[in-house]
Symmetry: C2
Subunit: 87 residues, 2 copies
């Protein structure tokens, strides 16, 4: 599946969230990651993030689609994620 | 079309970016908006944002799908956008 992940977490937990997301996804821009994951990898990422965040305070939203072809991506301004992360 | 918009812009331009996005989309969490737009509304939003950002420095990424049914949304932790923004 194709995954877009955005996080809004307390500053002190950001490094752990970043590190966890980087294991599974490509960095797109500040607090945004994207990539292709299997269902098992997605579950594993969600479990790892649940262990790292404070679920009473932090927020992580994922948008998933069966295939990247279902989603068009467009960048206005600078492409921070670099050519390796273009859909 | 269904639109997810994420922005990474200089702090001094964030208020204008926020204001522009709020005219067209629902706030999801820090630097993330989502919503349904017509193709004309989407073009209008992109034109308005191009006028507001510094395209040599700022970055705005949009992910669009023909229909919200093609994208599953899941929140881990707090749902900051509130019930009105749940897909």
């Amino acid at each position: 599946m194709f995954v877009i992940l955005v996080y809004d977490t307390a500053a002190e937990r950001n490094p752990k969230v970043l590190k966890t997301c980087r294991k599974y996804l490509h960095w797109t821009q500040r607090s945004v990651f994207q990539g292709q994951l299997s269902a098992a990898q997605y579950r594993s990422l969600m479990a790892a993030l649940t262990a790292v965040i404070d679920t009473d305070y932090d927020s992580i939203v994922t948008y998933t689609a069966r295939s990247p072809e279902l989603i068009d991506s467009h960048t206005l301004g600078v492409d921070l994620g670099g050519p390796g992360d273009i859909l």
